[in-house]
């Protein structure tokens, strides 16, 4: 019982990252090298800018999703939240439809709208006991409907020059949205590793019943995770809107798949308790690199979707393979 553990060095946080989690990183590096060898134009600074641009919104979304999934739940309302906040921002800042011109404050309101939809998700799950899958699926549809109502078939155009400039602009040659995404990632990292909310989220995912038995505030953590996920989906929808310059119900189409895929292939387990925001960021980057690289090596856009799906399936299979063996030996 006294045998000593292997001496370990380095800060505590890094020590909790284990070797198995480097798989996705390795895959990312291999993928980049492969594409770069096949097509030298892939490895140019310009193209890296394109990739980071493409990856910004999925990264923001997947940071929020990571906390929900870490707890063992799922949020399917992302696209609905994005649509609602897109319409909200487009009608609150200087635009072609309403007479409002709230500028940055309007943006903040749109993001908060996303957070309150997330809050609704959390309350449905914890207070009313609706399973996360069904609650967020329903809220997705409701938010989508609200966005359609606001849109009225005529998407409002965003005409605030400062916001458009921010959405399209660069700072120190990095796209502004990428900078926001990196800030969100940093925030997510701190939340996950240095706050009770983050650590309890990991604990809940590890075993909700043990966490409950230990008296952890489980419901509060769940509501916070859904609210955060909604807030970041709102931020994603808002940023995408100021980038393309209009509020549109389809602003988030495809993002649900991308987000969940990024989280899963990054190594965050859908049953919770394993993974984290950095892993999800790697997953988001992989998807962006893959989509971009496939164009370079001439894979037809029509089958790119299928390739992404196939990769998700392969990763899920690999991720659950060990688990399957373990289950077999137990049962």
């Amino acid at each position: 019982m006294r045998q000593s553990m292997e001496p370990q060095q380095g800060p505590g946080v890094l020590r909790t990252i284990r070797w198995g989690q480097w798989g996705p990183c390795l895959a990312l590096v291999v993928m980049c090298l492969g594409f770069a060898l096949a097509e030298p134009r892939f490895a140019t600074l310009d193209n890296i800018g394109v990739i980071s641009d493409r990856c910004a919104i999925p990264l923001i979304l997947s940071v929020g999703m990571t906390f929900v999934v870490l707890q063992g739940a799922i949020d399917l309302s992302v696209e609905g939240v994005m649509a609602a906040s897109s319409l909200a921002v487009a009608m609150l800042v200087l635009n072609s439809r309403t007479g409002l011109d709230l500028g940055l404050f309007g943006m903040a309101l749109a993001v908060l709208a996303g957070a309150s939809i997330g809050l609704l998700n959390g309350l449905l799950v914890t207070r009313l006991g609706v399973p996360a899958f069904m609650a967020t699926l329903g809220v997705w549809s409701v938010a989508m409907g609200a966005a359609m109502l606001l849109s009225g078939g005529q998407p409002p155009l965003i005409r605030d020059p400062a916001l458009r400039a921010f959405g399209l602009g660069r700072t120190f040659s990095l796209p502004n949205l990428t900078i926001v995404a990196l800030l969100v990632l940093a925030l997510g990292f701190v939340l996950q590793n240095y706050t009770r909310f983050g650590r309890y989220s990991v604990a809940i995912g590890g075993s909700e019943s043990l966490a409950r038995q230990a008296g952890l505030p489980i419901d509060r953590c769940k509501v916070q995770a859904f609210a955060l996920c909604g807030l970041l989906a709102g931020l994603g929808g808002t940023l995408e809107s100021v980038r393309i310059g209009l509020g549109h119900v389809d602003i988030g189409v495809g993002q649900m798949f991308t987000t969940v895929t990024a989280v899963v292939i990054g190594g965050t387990s859908l049953s919770g308790g394993r993974g984290g925001v950095v892993q999800s960021a790697v997953g988001a980057l992989m998807l962006a690199v893959l989509a971009n690289g496939m164009i370079f090596v001439g894979i037809s856009p029509t089958i790119q979707k299928a390739v992404q799906g196939a990769i998700l399936l392969a990763v899920s299979l690999i991720a659950t393979w060990q688990l399957r063996d373990r289950l077999r030996s137990v049962k």
């Binding site: 019982m1 006294r2 000593s4 553990m5 292997e6 001496p7 370990q8 800060p11 505590g12 946080v13 020590r15 909790t16 284990r18 701190v190 590793n193 240095y194 706050t195 009770r196 650590r199 990991v202 604990a203 995912g205 590890g206 075993s207 043990l210 966490a211 409950r212 038995q213 230990a214 008296g215 952890l216 308790g273 394993r274 049962k331």
Partner: protein, 504 residues
């Protein structure tokens, strides 16, 4: 006499209408090590779980230092100064050791709401130091061995004293049952160490251990406290005697009648069956029409053995012969096909489907036999179900009642019926068939088991209380530490003492 730290007054707990704990009172003094012994199902764990805030009592009081407690979870108990080391460990596997030790009480390691990991680790290390352990606080908990995790649990309990500024009450639920001899010594040494800074309650099946470390010992039997012993004036034999004294009327069934028509054919023969770490060299013969009871404490390997005989766990070696034919079970489906039935201990989880009716539950596994073409033959189902409801005396005698509306005893019969409806099994393995049943239901079930055996089925049965096991069985095997330590033909209550001696 030193101060009384914890007093339990007339504590009661009911599960499904049956008292698991029926008015237990005891007291723990300062820096005292108190042992609690009793058969499986006597209520030891239930008692500790109520003191630790995991179960809520149905009656009675828990008084800590003169104040009545009302505990909702382990955090409440910890805040009051009570901590428990769990039999089925309570650490979160995917957190670090330090986080687990301070889980829910990280305030001292937070700086402006953010974790100061270095501080968290040093606080945890301070607790581990009390135990003389050098487990790294930053190690992931699931990377530790079982014994190391147990030490971490102990450190977590000791962390309580930092917060309450009083000496904690430490509850240990069979900390030694899963350990080897060397590790047991370490745990006992830890208990000695705890004596200097805490009050300890210790549950163990190993009576020698209890006598070695405990100052006083309470004996539980069928949910009641039947005796209190001082270590100074107590021997293993004294403990055994009090464990066996029955304060409640024992459910003695009609005497094992099978002796009259002692069957001849061997139905199942087990030869040198072994599974590393669980059981070794187990051999016995089960005859058609015979009931064999397997006695043994927690960790004796008897559950594992039964699961192997049903194909749910693969043994490492040895043979099983069914009617003289060697069989290999790839899974429970093979066992079912060969006519081996298994009724699990936890019928709520594994046995019945709560939302289905009695009839649906009964025929669930036999739908093939009730088909006419692709359509189920409902009139045949009805007749069949009615027959078995009558034969097993299931009440209420209605096929349409939802299964979860039945009492525990009737649910148990329903699970049994599922094995009987289509084709009579040759072997039935029953894991604790009378657990949680009241006295009448127990006697009814025991009679039923005897009847089933009389119809030619070979039955293997596990039960916790020895008197129950004796009432059910023609013969008895005793298992200890994975091996058969005793065999008893035609056991009666006189042999209880001898059986117990081989169990512990």
């Amino acid at each position: 006499m030193t101060e009384i730290v914890l007093r339990v007054e007339n504590l009661r707990k009911r599960f499904a209408g049956v008292y698991a704990l029926d008015g237990v009172s005891l007291e723990i003094r300062q820096r005292e090590v108190v042992g609690i012994v009793g058969e499986n199902g006597a209520g030891k764990s239930t008692l500790l779980k109520m003191i630790a805030g995991i179960l809520r009592p149905d009656g009675g009081r828990i008084v800590l230092r003169g104040k009545g407690l009302s505990l909702r979870n382990t955090a409440d108990a910890a805040n009051a100064g009570i901590g428990m080391v769990f039999q089925e460990q309570s650490l979160l596997p995917n957190l670090s050791v330090a986080e687990n030790i301070l889980l829910g009480h990280e305030d001292a390691a937070l700086r402006a709401g953010f974790y100061d990991w270095r501080r968290l680790r040093s606080l945890a290390a301070a607790q581990l130091d009390k135990l003389g352990s050098d487990i790294s606080p930053s190690a992931r908990t699931d990377a530790l061995t079982f014994a190391e995790r147990q030490l971490v649990e102990l450190a977590k309990v000791l962390a309580i004293e930092q917060r309450t500024r009083t000496e904690p009450v430490v509850l240990l639920d069979e900390p030694t049952s899963m350990l080897d001899a060397g590790q047991i010594e370490t745990v006992l040494a830890q208990i000695e160490r705890l004596r200097g800074r805490a009050s300890v309650v210790f549950i163990s099946h190993r009576l020698e251990e209890v006598l070695r470390v405990c100052d006083r010992i309470y004996v539980l039997n069928h949910g009641r406290c039947v005796a209190e012993h001082d270590r100074a004036s107590c021997s293993v034999a004294d403990l055994q005697t009090s464990m066996l004294s029955h304060t409640t009327p024992a459910p003695h069934a009609p005497p094992a009648a099978a002796a009259s028509k002692r069957p001849s054919t061997i139905a199942l023969s087990v030869r040198a069956l072994r599974c590393a770490g669980r059981y070794q060299a187990v051999s016995f013969d089960l005859r058609a029409g015979e009931v064999i009871g397997i006695a043994g404490a927690e960790g004796s390997g008897r559950e594992s053995l039964c699961r192997a005989l049903f194909g749910a766990e693969a043994p490492d070696g040895g043979d099983m012969l069914l009617d003289g034919q060697s069989i290999r079970l790839g899974g429970p489906a093979d066992a079912v096909r060969l006519g081996i039935g298994y009724v699990p201990a936890d019928r709520r989880i594994e046995g019945i489907v709560a939302g289905l009716s009695v009839a649906e539950n009964m025929t669930l596994a036999q739908l093939d036999g009730l088909r006419r073409g692709p359509i189920l033959d409902f009139s045949r189902e009805r007749t069949l179900v009615r027959t078995w409801i009558e034969r097993l005396r299931i009440a209420p005698a209605s096929p349409q009642v939802l299964a979860d509306r039945l009492s525990g005893g009737n649910q148990q019969k329903l699970v049994l019926a599922r094995w009987l409806v289509a084709r009579r099994p040759r072997i039935l393995i029953l894991d604790r068939p009378v657990r949680g049943l009241d006295v009448r239901a127990k006697m009814d079930m025991i009679r039923l088991i005897r009847e089933l055996a009389a119809s030619g089925i070979g039955i293997l049965v596990i039960a916790d209380a020895l008197d129950e096991l004796i009432a059910m069985s023609d013969r008895l095997l005793v298992m200890k530490d994975g091996a058969i330590s005793g065999r008893f033909d035609a056991p009666d209550s006189l042999s209880e003492r001898h059986i117990l001696e081989r169990m512990v």
